[in-house]
């Protein structure tokens, strides 16, 4: 966490309130400060109700904070308009969802192309890059398969390839292994590690599992809308992770 590294996420004093001005006004986030540096593998751990979905939505530019500043990869996005946010999301953020969220009846290849389509890339450039990305996640042979022809783990791999299309500043993964068995989950986590170590991709992992969080470089604990702790991941870099017990190393 040296200070001369570039900050990708620089969020200060993030407050989020719902139903403002009404009887049932609710403050979910109470002033959160988060810094994520380039190349880090960070996790945010919290139980349900801790506000981690809300925080993720704000970090992912799907929602705007009620108060606070948010600078994403050098751009102040606090006051950006909807269309601008769409564009920044497209360029700088790669989403990986718990439920994959691939487009049905569409091939894996076309799914991976999607963010690049919205970025205005030409048809051929998209296709070539998508094929490369599918190769990175080991899904090249199934590029023409539709989501209903793929297993959970395969779908998640396609989703990860999709998230890399526009070379984003950050991957936001929301419970990426939540719907997978431990063996498949292991494969996905290994993929994240590989992308982080070999390609220097910055990853923010949102999870409720402390065990999983220990694998990451830095762990931020979220409780009741506040960051209550920050620590180094206990199992981070502890040899290469092998397929086997989920979350265990060695």
């Amino acid at each position: 966490m040296s200070s001369d590294r570039k900050t990708v996420i620089d969020a200060k004093g993030i407050v989020k309130k719902f139903n403002i001005g009404k009887e049932n006004e609710l403050e979910i986030l109470h002033g959160i400060d988060i810094k994520v540096y380039e190349g880090e593998f960070v996790s945010i751990v919290g139980t349900s109700g801790s506000g981690k979905s809300t925080l993720m939505n704000i970090l992912g530019l799907l929602d705007k904070p009620t108060e606070g500043e948010y600078v994403l990869d050098g751009t102040d996005v606090s006051a950006a308009r909807d269309d601008e946010l769409s564009h920044i999301r497209n360029q700088k953020i790669g989403f990986v969802f718990q439920t994959y969220n691939l487009v049905a009846r569409t091939s894996a290849l076309k799914n991976v192309e999607l963010p690049m389509l919205y970025a205005g890339m030409s048809s051929r450039a998209r296709r070539e890059k998508a094929e490369k990305l599918l190769e990175i996640v080991d899904m090249k042979e199934r590029k023409d398969h539709t989501p209903d022809e793929l297993s959970g783990g395969q779908k998640q791999r396609v989703a990860i390839a999709r998230s890399l299309g526009n070379s984003p500043s950050i991957i936001l993964a929301d419970e990426p292994t939540g719907a997978l068995d431990s063996k498949t989950g292991r494969i996905i986590m290994d993929l994240f590690h590989r992308l982080n170590e070999e390609q220097g991709i910055t990853i923010v992992l949102i999870t409720h599992s402390n065990e999983l969080a220990e694998e990451t470089e830095r762990v931020l604990t979220l409780k009741d809308g506040n960051i209550i702790g920050e620590r180094k991941g206990a199992n981070y870099g502890f040899g290469k992770y092998k397929t086997g017990a989920y979350g265990a190393c060695g």
Binding site: N57, F97, P115
Partner: protein, 422 residues
């Protein structure tokens, strides 16, 4: 982007073919009926035009009728007609002089009768028709052998006749040369008449509303003799009860008809106690019929338009359902960077594609129906290309209109809520 959206739309539509077809049904029926009406309407129009041209649309017809009393009812107890009541050749000549600049001539036809001419086993059906020069020219008959009627025939009322090639086929086995110079003999009542064939003309089948079916052998063709010949033959043919005035091009037939009406009834038949001239212009009649047909056309097209409206509502309905079904997908797309505009474009494209497809199917169906009905009515017609293109564009515009609300709904979805949607 537009191309991608079109491909996307086609994929989405193909995913549920039955639903897509049912959605398109309203559009298909609407467009099909509009195109069919247009086709039949055009055919009937062309038909009418052809028939009019055959009859001579610039002509004013005059015929003798009994005078109506003040209540515009014709009296049934009118006195028997006298020679002096009829139109006369002198009257026609006077008319020709008086209106020399405005009319091209007066056409006079006196039908002698229809009969079957027999030669041993062969036979032909003819209508013996006395014509003056103007009437003959109006018929636009083409001589293919021998000669036409000439001044000598018209003035001196010679006993010559022009027969059709069909007549020659029937009686002379198509040998035109041997037909020329031969007699044509008929018996009318107790009288026997003979004419010499001096020319053969090419029979033109009548198009349009006056076409008659029947086999080739039984076809009834005209045999033309000079009108004076016909009139001199017997008393019955002597009287002129009807004639046509050929109005010059550039003159208004209706106005000319009015003038003739004034002169004939105001001057010539003013003092006649029982009879007068009835003058009408074909053009006015034609316009009336035209008007009625047009009203009918628009009525049917109105029905077609209603069907289109219902179809459009159906499209909108299904699009709303489709948007709801794909809420999650829309949320994902937005998360990945699709702007509101992109989402709106995606769904409007889908609506336009459905409507355009429905429109094209409707056009094909409509053309089929239209051509089918037209041929049943023995008319020929095709809708204009601009009409077809117009229909396609119209159905696409329909898609934009009826797709707008659902597309907007999709565009305005909140991505967070959309992603949570089950």
């Amino acid at each position: 982007m537009v191309l991608e959206n079109i491909k996307l739309a086609l994929t989405a539509l193909a995913a549920n073919k039955l639903r897509t077809l049912l959605t398109m049904l309203g559009i298909i029926i609407g467009i099909a009926s509009v195109i069919a009406i247009m086709t039949v309407g055009n055919a009937m129009n062309n038909n009418m035009q052809d028939s009019m041209n055959d009859l001579g649309i610039n002509n004013v017809t005059v015929f003798l009728t009994t005078k109506t009393d003040d209540n515009n009812e014709s009296s049934y107890n009118v006195r028997k007609i006298k020679d002096s009541d009829y139109f006369s050749l002198e009257l026609l000549n006077e008319l020709k002089e008086k209106y020399k600049g405005k009319i091209d001539g007066v056409s006079l036809k006196q039908e002698i009768g229809s009969m079957k001419v027999k030669d041993k086993k062969k036979y032909a059906n003819i209508t013996l028709l006395g014509v003056n020069r103007t009437a003959f020219n109006q018929s636009k008959v083409k001589i293919m052998a021998g000669r036409s009627l000439n001044s000598d025939d018209y003035v001196n009322a010679t006993n010559v006749v022009l027969v059709s090639d069909k007549y020659v086929d029937s009686i002379y086995d198509g040998d035109t040369e041997s037909a020329l110079g031969k007699p044509l003999e008929v018996v009318i009542g107790n009288n026997y008449y003979t004419y010499t064939i001096v020319g053969v003309y090419e029979y033109q089948e009548k198009t349009g509303m006056f076409s008659v079916g029947g086999s080739v052998k039984d076809i009834q063709t005209e045999a033309y003799v000079p009108v004076l010949t016909a009139m001199h033959q017997n008393k019955d043919n002597k009287h002129i009860e009807e004639f046509e005035v050929v109005v010059s091009a550039g003159e208004d037939p209706d106005a000319t008809a009015e003038e003739l009406r004034e002169w004939l009834n105001g001057v010539k038949y003013k003092n006649n106690d029982a009879y007068e001239a009835y003058v009408y212009s074909l053009k006015a009649e034609a316009e009336q019929v035209q008007g009625m047909l047009n009203t009918l056309r628009f009525a049917f097209m109105g029905i077609g338009a209603i069907s289109l409206l219902v179809g459009g509502i159906g499209v909108m309905n299904i699009m709303i359902v489709s948007v709801t079904e794909r809420t999650r997908e829309i949320g994902t797309r937005k998360a990945l960077g699709a702007t509101n505009g992109y989402i709106r474009l995606q769904f409007i494209t889908e609506a336009v594609v459905v409507c355009a497809l429905g429109g094209i199917i409707g056009i094909i169906l409509g053309l089929g129906m239209g051509i089918g009905v037209s041929s049943l009515l023995q008319c020929k017609g095709m809708p204009s290309v601009s009409g077809i293109v117009g229909c396609v564009l119209f159905s696409m515009a329909f898609g934009v209109f009826f797709g707008y609300y659902p597309a907007n709904k999709a565009a305005k979805l909140n991505p967070i809520e959309a992603l949570r949607y089950e």
